[in-house]
Amino acid sequence: MLNQNPLWRYLLVAGVLLLALVYALPNLYPEDPALNINATRGGAVSETTRQQLEERLVASGLTPKAVTLENGQVLVRFQSAEEQLRGRQVATELLGNVNYVTALNLVPTTPAWLAAIGASPMKLGLDLRGGVHFLMAVDMKAALDKNINDLTQAFRADLREARVRYRSVSADVEGGQVQILLRSAEDVAAARAALSRLDREYVFTDGAAEFSLNVSLSENRIREIREYALEQNITIIRNRVNEIGVAEPLVQRQGADRIIVQLPGVQDPAQAKEILGATATLEFRLVDEQGDLAAALNGRLPPGSSLYTDRNGQPYLLENRVMLTGEHITNASSSYDEYSQPQVNISLDAQGGNLLSVATRDSIGRRMATVFIEYKPGEELQADGTPVLVKQEEVINAATIQARLGRSFRITGIGNPAEAQNLALLLRAGALIAPTQIIEERTIGPSLGQENIDLGMTAIMWGMVVVLVFMLIYYRVFGLIANCALVANLILIIGIMSMIPGATLTLPGMAGIVLTVGMAVDANVLIFERIREELAEGRSVQQAIHQGYDRAFATIADSNITTLLVALILFGIGTGPVKGFAITLAIGILTSIFTSVVGTRLLVNLFWGGRRVQSLPM
């Protein structure tokens, strides 16, 4: 008999819809305004701190919903955004903002049973949540220029060492090469031989002048330099973003020299810019062993020395003379020494090597301290409302100099591998080789974000209502079936958007949903029109239903594949909000085929299939 379906097909479709419904559910629960409190520099917040904070919050007349310790950070949920802001003040007063970072956040209130199956609400784009989006470009030319300058210095030393006499070694920054002028053809050959022994990645070409040699770097090495510059900047920006106190920041590489930074909920883009742009530096200084530390602590500093402290408050008396600054560091990494103890390997540029070599010649056996200097926003505010940046100096390591140091050396005697890693990271952060620049900014204030959500929701709702009414009038009972498909379609879109981890809902994305609502009925219109036609041609009701679905399907598939093609192209080239539009469009196309072809067929078959029906209510 025509138009009858096995039970499993009903179960399958019902199951898919139920699944989508369950995963769409978390979107119905409102989010709690909350505070995230993290310890800086990879530390953890203790249970005692949590208790203190809870007591203080309650004592201040606030009624937090919950104060919990999760993954080394404290999460405080509040009843209202107003309490959240007051709570932040209380927390900052109690904990200060040196060792702890307090971030405003919105956390979902997904019930436990939903969270247990991995259901969570849709991720909202910055245009709906409010927040700052930066696109930063790394100045690769600066990184490469610095490299050529370093090479120039290194070559002078290398040629002297190899006893090759040269007239001049100069940097040709524009050409990305080092020009070496020599006195004879033999010298050219000797220089070439000497340098190529040092590094296989050098590329030699004959210069325009007589007896000259141009040295540039291989493609490989240039790529390495660029990669390193980008990676270094990403690491530094990640660290700084953590300082800003953002709950769910995103720092992501884009292409060869770009970095995307997204800071949801940040309301002051000026401050964020200050912090991202702030520079950290490093200094190496000798520890003043003769000076009286106790006297210095009482305010009597020995001449030529100053007092510094490390993270744990341990005081150090350091000489004012700086042996070396961080800009000479070209790389720092952590590894293990021959006794399997953690160590940090540091490489310097040629000039840095010379400086350190001279400075450590007479200081073997003394201790050398590494001071990390950075600018952080403090409590005070400037006239325009941005916080004053406060210089913070901190000793991150003090190690005994074992031998005269050169272009590469290592720091041993570090407590544990994690600390070695952290030190290497700080050393790299203090030696930024390529500056970054903000080339795109998109900031949405919190109220506009909420407004966009409201506008989008109203548009979806009214769009839906109007189409539902139209379909009902135009196709009567069949319109009702198409309407079921439309509602199911919306649930599927929301459910799938909530399930896919990378999908974010944006304002254009919401426009995409509205558009899908309008276009989704197309498949049903095609089918129903076809059924009407078949009936008009005198086919039986069962034949008409069968042929209608059958013939319309080829058309539906054809026409939707092209739209899907466009959605994919949009996804490929689009950024941020436009990508959001492409995602909802693509999901909407797929779900609408499912609901309006597969879903409605089941309903139609259920009501009219396999029976003696004389006419259809359409």
């Binding site: 696109l135 949405i444 558009l515 219109v525 080829a554 939707n560 466009v566 949009l570 436009v578």
Partner: protein, 315 residues
């Protein structure tokens, strides 16, 4: 309920020439506009800074302009955005200053003009290099979409139909761009997305008609190509109108309720879909017929990959 009830095919192809002439005129006019008035490129493509601020009472634009001129931004474009309490300020890219700082300065300047607090609603800054890239990417995307469709339709149908479809698409896009040029509406990334969505929608429409043309060629053995096309267009007319109607209805909703940020998005789609509906009825098939589409070219059908043909019904 039905919109149209026909017993015989309407002779659409009788209007083939007037329609093609009208379309050619519109396309030429649009090109003329695009070359003379050009497109009012939005911030995404030109680079620069837009700051949207909210005042608690009606904003005084002259005062805002005066303050900005005083601070060295005499070229700032200041206008209401959505309501008379929201003001959007647009500043073109400038040389020699750190661009990303401009927004800070302007916000500070405006805050001082008003007694009541001014709320930062939106800041968008796009560097000139990014703007050029976006322009390039946008053009590329549109081209990629058109070529992809040309290939797909060429593969699934006949080359004459493929050419007809793509020319009709180009027609829709160019005339929509012409409207944006005529009204000097701002063309930003969301409008680009709308144009691409329009390409998707319009091809959808055209393919439904083409599918039917193919079928009609098989069904009507003694008809001329024009008669066949007329039959197909008539048969799909109800569907074309109903789908366009529902889509246009939701777009009207979006236009009035979606907020100022997607106003132009909705405008582009509304206009584009109206044009697209017209072009899939008259232009696409008209061109295909004019290129010499005939029964022999469409046979032997069916192509082997035709879905749902001769197989078990899907459900």
């Amino acid at each position: 309920m039905r919109i149209f009830r026909f017993t015989d095919a309407i002779n659409f192809m009788r209007f083939k020439w007037p329609a093609l002439m009208l379309s050619a005129l519109l396309v030429l006019g649009s090109f003329g506009l695009l070359f003379t008035k050009g497109i009012n490129w939005g911030l995404d493509f030109t680079g620069g800074t837009v700051i949207e601020v909210g005042f608690t009472e009606n904003a005084d634009l002259t005062q805002v302009r005066a303050v900005l001129a005083e601070r060295g931004y005499p070229d700032a474009v200041v206008q209401y955005f959505g309501s008379s309490q929201d003001v959007a300020i647009r500043i073109s890219p400038r040389e020699g200053v750190e661009q990303s700082r401009i927004s800070n300065e302007i916000l500070a300047a405006i805050s001082q003009t008003s007694a009541t607090p001014v709320e930062m609603r939106r800041i968008e800054f796009v560097g000139p290099s990014v703007g050029d890239e976006l322009k390039e990417q946008g053009g590329l995307a549109m081209l990629a979409a058109l070529i992809g469709i040309l290939l797909y339709v060429g593969m699934r149908f006949e080359w004459r139909l493929s050419v007809g479809a793509v020319l009709a698409l180009g027609h829709d896009v160019i005339i929509t761009l012409g409207l944006f040029s005529l009204l000097q509406l701002e063309f930003d990334l969301t409008v680009l997305a709308a144009i691409l969505a329009l390409i998707g929608y319009s091809i959808n429409d055209t393919i439904v008609v083409f599918d039917r043309i193919r079928e009609s060629f098989r069904k009507l053995r003694d008809a001329t190509p024009e008669e066949t096309v007329n039959d197909a267009v008539t048969a799909t007319l109800n569907r074309t109108v109903v789908t366009s109607l529902t889509t246009i209805i939701v777009l009207v909703v979006l236009f009035y309720m979606g907020g100022a940020l997607i106003h132009n998005f909705a405008t582009a789609l509304l206009f584009g879909i109206a044009i697209g509906t017209y072009s899939s009825v008259f232009v696409a098939s008209g061109i295909a017929v004019q290129l010499g589409l005939n029964r022999e070219d469409m046979l032997p059908p069916p192509p082997p990959e035709k879905e749902g043909e001769g197989t078990e019904p899907l459900l």
